[in-house]
Symmetry: C2
Subunit: 443 residues, 2 copies
């Protein structure tokens, strides 16, 4: 009945010194991981195109954007940060709701903090409030909402950005309720856009709209006060089934960021176990590409729902293809950024193997698993069952692995010395006097 | 299968000289009606609050907004125009889909035309393309989409704004398809917000996001190409039932603006027949407010779904109350802007009668009808059956009645001489060399 108010009131009254150290550390892991993604993605055509289109509309250029020289007002800076940080498909995931939780929240917060003096402690606290808000809204409507075709990173993310920026703007509970309402009524983002630039725009759009919601609410712009639970509110309208008890249960104790995971490969989360298995087969057997006759993959049904792209011509498409992902694992023994470029998408060796991959949805296989069989021309069949994919909640990337991932993405753009400094700033995020130091270190 | 492409291709290739005169005239009626609403609404607190919140974020102040001295970049000007033009609840309605069609399209177009030299012919043509696009998207998903709780003016309106601005930006068909995709993925707006400032924000939000969609598409920002019909596209995700044949059938011949209607009263469209009947009873019987013992109203079920507000303290709430609307008709014999203010909401005479009104949903009553019974203390019962409400498609407001409505709203803000000039400019819209003349005449 009052879930919106409960959530708003928690965000407003939360104190950082009540939040356990492991939660703070996970916030820094999430930010580190995402800053790396944003630096890596910042040179992509989607970012260039958006900057070209939006720069003429920007307000006062008070905010830097991550890893770019252009400056914007903080609302547009949120959009650009969002595109940069999501375009590589390398960001974090909370598997209980399939949200990529850091992009919408961090995109807005870095834009805010670049234009408004913000300490590291304020930033981390606001980040955790945003993470909690979007996760709980997402938990309440997942899976029906996601299965219907909503890009939940965007639709829940807008609540996260509103909560986070609203925390920094020191909204009252009444204002935070309005901010939640304004966020709910701007929640949008369709899975139909996957594979196009519009997908990464979703993260920026959610960041910006959430930020705007907090700004409007602070000025006294009113909204419906039952945004989440109302009869015509977010849950009822955007999900055929939902469980509102997930908004409040354990709030302030069961921090959702503890369930965050980080992808080892820059593509759809659900193809990651298949890549693990194909890389293992490459390492153990070195099958020559032209010796591969057929590849059969058994995966969870959601994999084919999300990553069933067959007609691959561009790197962006290849990120949503179980066929391409299996092929790069088998052919190259790795699946890094270079395996999801336009070049890789059109590499004849990869293409040849990709065309021989078939995939079957098997409800007995979990989303962390994959069963792979590779028939070779010599009559041999290689098999592999991946029980837990790397990066999942029970096999998390270590801090050192997160740093490696960060370096892979950002050294080509910034050089090793600057990247080392940036990694250090991320680990010391909660000690920074002004978070803009970190934004500037990406530029 | 290719509805998005069909619609995009029609908009791109349409020529104004192929559009019949009655359609052009209806476009001018729609614009006249809406400009009056925007002038009237431009001093409301929702507009002041949004201006205060958004002005610090505006880009170059190249665009005027209707009836205000502040200047914005054209994207924010779209937002402000949208709030001004919708806040009075006095705008137009297409009853086949319950869209208020002019606000999102005209808000974006006037913002564009204020910053970019645009002839009246270009404006009218773009307006009609936007009107057609949003109407057809709305027709395809109505009523399931609306009944689910979507504010269809916003969710369909974003397509209209994208089409209209896209027409002026001379998008190619490919770019228009992307613009439709970017519009679809930003489509949002919940009926839960009705009665708050967020409702009128929806019109501005749709205008701005549609405008932005066209700008991004023009720059080459890509989107999914089956925005409307795709498996995870607008229709499938935002409506449990839909009919895609309504996108293309009669396109270019059966212009949807022919079905447009204009409200005589500044409140929810569905309470208008009840107001008609109560005004008639006042005129014919002059019942003293304290002689009214009970008022029974039988109305179409949608009326109670939309306008069932009982606890009325503010003017904004009263616009969604069948009880308040019946009471003002009976007590004051009219239902103009003065009957939906905070003062009217708290008028003891109105309040007394309002508390005596009961309403029953009756599926045998159409949305243009109302059956009213008023019990008086002397034992008498007054009755009235309204068969066709004023302003509906079969009893349209005349051009002169639209002018009267325009004057009612705008003379208090602009004075009679300027209003006469503005009305003249609206009727000559298609002859204007630069539509900014009209924007300036509102200021």
């Amino acid at each position: 009945m009052f879930e919106t108010k409960t959530l708003a009131s928690y965000i407003v009254s939360s104190k950082l010194d009540k939040i356990p150290d492991d939660v703070i550390h996970e916030a820094k892991r999430a930010v580190l991981n995402w800053v790396g993604c944003a630096v890596g993605g910042s040179g992509e055509p989607a970012v260039d195109t958006a900057i070209r289109a939006l720069l003429p509309f920007s307000g006062k250029p008070e905010a830097g954007v991550l890893a770019r020289p252009e400056r914007f007002d903080p609302l547009y800076a949120s959009v650009i940060n969002g595109i940069s940080g999501h375009v590589y498909e390398y960001d974090d995931t909370t598997p209980m709701n399939y949200i990529h939780p850091t992009p919408p929240v961090a995109s807005a917060l870095f834009a805010y903090a670049s234009a408004n003096a913000t300490t590291g402690r304020e930033f981390v606290h606001a980040f955790l409030m945003g993470f909690e808000a979007e996760s709980r809204v997402g938990n309440a409507v997942y899976p029906a909402h996601y299965n219907a075709g909503w890009h939940i990173t965007a639709t829940a993310g807008v609540f996260g950005a509103a909560a986070a920026v609203g925390k920094l703007l020191v909204l009252s509970t009444q204002e935070m309720i309005w901010a939640m309402g304004l966020a709910a009524t701007q929640a949008s983002g369709l899975r139909e856009m996957f594979g196009s630039m519009a997908k990464s725009f979703h993260a920026g759009h959610a960041a910006r709209n959430g930020y705007l919601s907090a700004v409007l609410a602070k000025a006294g712009f009113t909204a419906g006060e039952h945004a989440i639970e109302g009869a015509r509110g977010f849950a009822a309208v955007l999900a055929s089934e939902y469980d509102l008890s997930k908004i409040a249960t354990g709030l302030g104790e069961d921090f959702q960021i503890r369930y965050n995971t980080y992808k080892p490969y820059p593509c759809g989360i659900v193809v990651q176990p298949t890549i693990d298995g194909c890389i293992d087969l490459h390492r153990d057997h070195h099958p020559a590409p032209d010796s591969i006759k057929a590849v059969r993959v058994r995966v969870a049904p959601l994999v084919l729902d999300l990553c069933n792209k067959r007609d691959i011509r561009r790197g962006l498409d290849s990120k949503y293809s179980i066929y391409h992902s299996a092929a790069v694992g088998l052919v190259r023994g790795k699946a890094g950024l270079q395996e999801y470029t336009d070049d890789a998408a059109n590499d004849p060796l990869i293409k040849r193997v990709r065309e021989r991959v078939s995939a079957v949805a098997d409800p007995s296989i979990t989303e962390d698993q994959s069963r792979i069989e590779v028939d070779l021309t010599n009559g041999e069949t290689l098999t592999r069952f991946v029980e837990e994919s790397l990066g999942n909640i029970r096999r998390p990337l270590s801090d050192a692995q997160l740093e490696d991932k960060f370096r892979d993405q950002s050294v080509p753009r910034l050089g090793r010395a600057q990247v080392d400094r940036l990694i250090d700033l991320c680990w010391r995020l909660d000690e920074l006097e002004n978070v803009n130091t970190l934004v500037e270190a990406t530029q």
